[in-house]
């Protein structure tokens, strides 16, 4: 039954060119109203008044009661003075992500959201409506009407909760009209109690005798008053019953007798009448109605493909004109009335038992050739032809649905039900994609190997081989394998030029993803130059901010810039990445994590803990690869030291993580790049807060990032200096020296770390030798090197050199306001600057304590004993803190509550005039209190 008249693609071209989602576009228009429609002023007025006065209007009645037409007619003839959005809900909408995407599209189509509010494709976590919808609606000056037809398909309570939430948080700018067979799961009692709802229910929708009479007149039937009363009584004013009766009676020679028979009979109305009407149709029409009942929407050429005739266009047109069974949709499409389609399917099964699977298969093939993949797949599955579904999905440009930044697409979810026994390379590819999307690299690779064994070099297999190459690249990114990634990227790039792109997609995702994944592996393997080139290529393939895949390469570019020392450009790129991710509601996903981490890093260098925390909190927990408790997540005060210890824990303790959003494309494994970067940023933050143990634990947890066995040289280059610094801070300078590679350091960061460890170990000569004569590199590193040199100079008593180096450090840090290095520098700097306030005179950007002039009331004289002596308990606490015990450990050891220990720590800080526990320990040591 394939290869029927009129190539589907050609037939479709007559329709509006399919956009991103042609099937969706068809559900966003207000359906047309047939000529036989009877306007009922009592209902139209109630609807109009309801929308004017109440946020929620519920049109609630059985199938075929005339609910949809009532709302259509109202919108078409006396529309409200506000924009109106329409969405015919379908089964796939019964999940928050799809539902909110479709509602967003409906609002956009109605022009109900400001342009700046992008079209999001992914819902906010926990079934909430995407934030931009509430915000966008809240910005409006007048309300917008949203009609959700066939809302009975929504049974997911999360969607209903989200709608309720949106109604309550959009500043009254939403008028919701729900058209449903069932009561929706919204808390209707509350709306009723608050007089916020208009309900038009079955009893209201029932036709009165006058209305029945008008309806019959439209169908060319003139019945007497008593006859109308009889018919209205027998059908209980049910619109579908009246319409079917009119259609059946119109073909009956004696209308009056037909009514008498109908009245006397006891049959169920729709069932009986539909069979009657169906039997009076010409054979061709009957056949078409039965066969097309399996379709959600009917294209004349598709109907021809199902019937094997060529007259579907004429028949559908006639049926639509007579308002019998089908209504026209946008373009050449039609649809059957859902009630009639349901009954027709029963008749189809009864009359042609073996036919439905065949019809589904024929429909699937037609839709697939027409490029309507989502619909094609649904029918292939209905025909139980998983092999075809798998081949079309994996052998097409659609498999990136699994890895789209906006979450798996509609059809990806379909394959959840793919039978485990299905064999073949395409089925294996789909299994590989699912495994890799879940971060399971081992399983993904195993499936890929099995798929590869079944693929040939034939041209027919090119799309599947392209899919395989794309998946190989994803796997290579997870394992951090540069050779694998390069090879996969080459293969994919070659194949994608031979495989036609999916014309139905608004954005071509594949090239962007290829370059991005390749760049990530390049960066991981220590080639920032190649990474940068690939990222620029990715961005070039994704022109315009509305491309859904652009934010990830932007975030990675920000990282490359940052590590290259270009703080300003890095910040701009990262902000742009997050702005675009926000458009796609993807800020909380793994792919946006890099941009958040870059901004957290920059904030750390600028000494802005609140900003560090706010970004670190947005990095999904699964990506952190380690504990994120305490200072980062606790939202503790800025003197995070005391508080940070509360969340102190060892590596792998994941209980303290915040409720990160579900992560796209990450799972047990996750992107090693993100894991390492996350660990380094968090460790540095812990260090800044005086918690070297935590820093070390965080770094240790990134030792085996995700599926990558070992950190790359790149990762080690990031981790080692921070680990060394943490060891120095923990009083283990010797261990720090041992940690770092001997000989000439490969990076200025390593050189700095080596020098610092040597310096802390008391070997000033070795420290000086480790540092380059003229430091070069990122400004933050250069600043730190200059500061260390200055500290050495000051320690040697060479005040002039120290002052000179300090001036250079300040000048280096100034353009990017890098306060971090100065905050980390330790007490010598504060003391030095107090003696030389002239050095900081021009540096208003420095934090207060470092800028304080030699004032009449000086800060605490460095080594003056505390005014108030420490209590015995406080000394005990401090001794334990000096042994690097956490707050909890101190509490356990002293048999005190954690809060009591915190109180002691606060009073210790107060008495010693310090603000952090490490500082307190240092000061106590100098004062010989320990």
């Amino acid at each position: 039954m394939t290869g029927r008249p009129g190539h589907p693609a050609g037939a479709l071209r007559r329709a509006a060119a399919p956009r991103a989602d042609p099937a969706l576009a068809g559900r966003l228009g207000v359906p047309p109203v047939p000529a036989t429609f009877v306007r009922r002023a009592r209902l139209a007025d109630r609807l109009a008044r309801g929308v004017r006065e109440h946020p929620l209007v519920l049109v609630d009645g059985p199938a075929g009661a005339g609910k949809t037409l009532l709302v259509c007619d109202w919108l078409r003839t006396s529309p409200p003075p506000h924009p109106a959005a329409w969405l015919t809900v379908e089964a796939e909408d019964n999940s928050p992500a799809v539902f909110w995407h479709d509602v967003g599209q409906a609002l956009h189509r109605a022009g109900a959201l400001p342009r700046a509010v992008g079209a999001a494709r992914r819902a906010a976590p926990a079934g909430r409506p995407p934030r931009h919808l509430a915000t966008g609606l809240g910005l409006r000056r007048d309300p917008v009407v949203v009609v959700l037809d066939e809302f009975e398909r929504i049974t997911d309570p999360e969607v209903a909760t989200g709608l309720d939430h949106l109604l309550r948080h959009c500043g009254g700018m939403l008028r919701l009209v729900l058209v449903s067979r069932n009561e929706p799961l919204l808390p209707l009692h509350r709306y009723r109690a608050a007089d916020e709802i208009t309900e038009i229910r079955a009893a209201d929708l029932a036709f009165s005798e006058e209305e029945s009479s008008a309806l019959l007149t439209r169908h060319g039937l003139a019945l007497s008053g008593p006859d109308v009363r009889v018919l209205t009584g027998r059908t209980e004013g049910w619109a579908a019953g009246l319409r079917l009766w009119a259609l059946a009676a119109a073909r009956s020679p004696d209308c009056g007798r037909y009514l008498k028979e109908f009245e006397a009979g006891h049959s169920t109305i729709a069932d009986f009448l539909l069979a009657e009407v169906l039997d009076t149709q010409p054979a061709g029409t009957r056949d078409l109605l039965l066969r097309t009942s399996i379709l959600d929407r009917i294209h004349p050429a598709l109907a021809d493909a199902l019937t094997g005739s060529r007259d579907a266009e004429r028949i559908l047109d006639e049926l639509a004109r007579a308002n019998a069974f089908v209504t026209p949709l946008n373009g050449p499409w039609y649809r059957q009335h859902p009630l009639f389609a349901e009954i027709l399917r029963v008749h189809l099964r009864a009359r042609h038992p073996g036919l439905p699977p065949e019809l589904h298969l024929a429909a699937a093939r037609w839709l697939q050739r027409a490029g309507l993949l989502d619909e094609a797949l649904r029918h292939a599955v209905a025909a139980d032809r998983w092999d075809l579904a798998a081949a079309w999905f994996a052998g097409g440009p659609a498999v990136d649905q699994f890895f789209s930044s906006t979450g798996p697409g509609r059809s990806a979810a379909l394959f959840d039900a793919m039978p485990a026994g299905l064999e073949g390379p395409c089925a294996e590819l789909i299994r590989a994609a699912r495994a890799l999307a879940a971060g399971d690299c081992a399983a993904g690779t195993a499936h890929l190997d099995r798929a590869a064994a079944g693929l040939t070099a034939a041209e027919d297999d090119a799309p599947a081989r392209l899919t395989a190459a794309v998946l190989r690249l994803v796997a290579a990114r997870l394992t951090g394998s540069a050779p694998g990634a390069v090879e996969a990227a080459r293969t994919a790039d070659r194949l994608r030029r031979t495989v036609p792109a999916d014309p139905g997609r608004e954005h071509q995702v594949l090239p962007v993803r290829l370059f991005t994944d390749l760049a990530a592996v390049r960066l991981w393997s220590g080639d920032p130059g190649a990474a940068r080139a690939a990222l620029l290529a990715a961005v070039a393939e994704a022109p315009g901010a509305e491309h859904p895949e652009r934010y990830e390469p932007l975030g990675l570019l920000a990282l490359v810039e940052l590590l290259g020392g270009a703080v300003g450009p890095a910040e701009r790129r990262a902000r742009q990445a997050l702005a675009e991710a926000g458009t796609w509601e993807a800020e909380g996903t793994g792919r946006a994590a890099i941009a958040h981490l870059v901004l957290a890093w920059i904030a750390l260098e600028r000494g802005d803990p609140a900003v560090v925390r706010s970004h670190a909190r947005r990095v999904p927990a699964a990506e952190a690869g380690a504990v994120t408790g305490g200072a980062v997540d606790g939202g503790a005060g800025d003197n995070g030291v005391v508080d940070s210890a509360a969340g102190h824990g060892g590596a792998g303790e994941s209980g303290a993580v915040d409720g990160g959003a579900p992560v796209v494309g990450s799972g047990p494994g996750g992107d090693p790049l993100r894991i390492v970067l996350g660990a380094v940023v968090r460790a540095r933050f812990a260090l800044r807060n005086g918690d070297p143990r935590r820093a070390l634990a965080l770094l240790a947890a990134a030792e085996h990032p995700g599926a990558a066995g070992e950190p790359s040289p790149w990762a080690r280059g990031l981790i080692a200096p921070v680990a060394a610094e943490a060891l120095v801070a923990a009083g283990a300078a010797g261990a720090a020296v041992g940690l770092l590679p001997a000989g000439q350091a490969r990076s200025p960061e390593l050189a700095l770390a080596t020098a610092r460890a040597r310096f802390a170990a008391g070997d000033r000569g070795a420290a000086a030798r480790a540092l380059p004569r003229t430091p070069a590199g990122p400004p933050a590193t250069v600043t730190r090197i200059l500061l260390l040199k200055a500290e050495a100079g000051a320690a040697d008593g060479d005040e002039r050199t120290a002052a000179h180096l300090l001036t250079r450090a300040l000048a280096t840090a100034r353009p990017d306001r890098l306060r971090g290095p100065f905050l980390e520098a330790g007490p010598w700097l504060a003391a030095f600057l107090r003696r030389r306030p002239d050095l900081t005179a021009d540096h208003g950007w420095l934090p207060e304590p470092l800028r304080r002039r030699a004032a009449p009331v000086p800060g605490p004289a460095e080594d003056a004993p505390p005014v108030e002596p420490l209590s015995r308990r406080e000394r005990e606490v401090l001794e334990r803190v000096a042994q690097l015990m956490s707050t909890q450990e101190v509490a356990a050891d002293l048999q005190l509550s954690v809060n009591t220990v915190k109180t002691h720590l606060k009073s210790i800080n107060r008495k010693l005039c310090t603000s952090r526990r490490t500082e307190a320990v240092r000061r106590a040591r100098r004062l010989h209190l320990l």
Binding site: T268, I269, F272, V346
Partner: protein, 66 residues
């Protein structure tokens, strides 16, 4: 669980055989009575949805003693 479901009107044989093959049925005084085993609640609600989809009015629903 066995249930008895009554629907207003006499349902056609086609509808009974193809729409509700798992239930036995008989017609009395302008009612169709359907009786059969209901596997679980999901089945029950699915069944009710099917009646609704097909434009049938359920007038009575009760669980039968085992």
């Amino acid at each position: 669980m066995r249930y008895e479901i009554r629907v207003a009107g006499a349902m056609s044989d086609t509808m009974l055989d193809e729409g509700f093959p798992e239930l036995e049925s008989f017609v009395i005084a302008s009612q169709t009575v359907l009786v059969g085993p209901i596997v679980d609640e999901a089945h029950l609600y699915g069944l009710l949805a099917r009646f609704q989809l097909l434009g049938l009015r359920v007038t009575e629903l009760r669980q039968l003693p085992e």
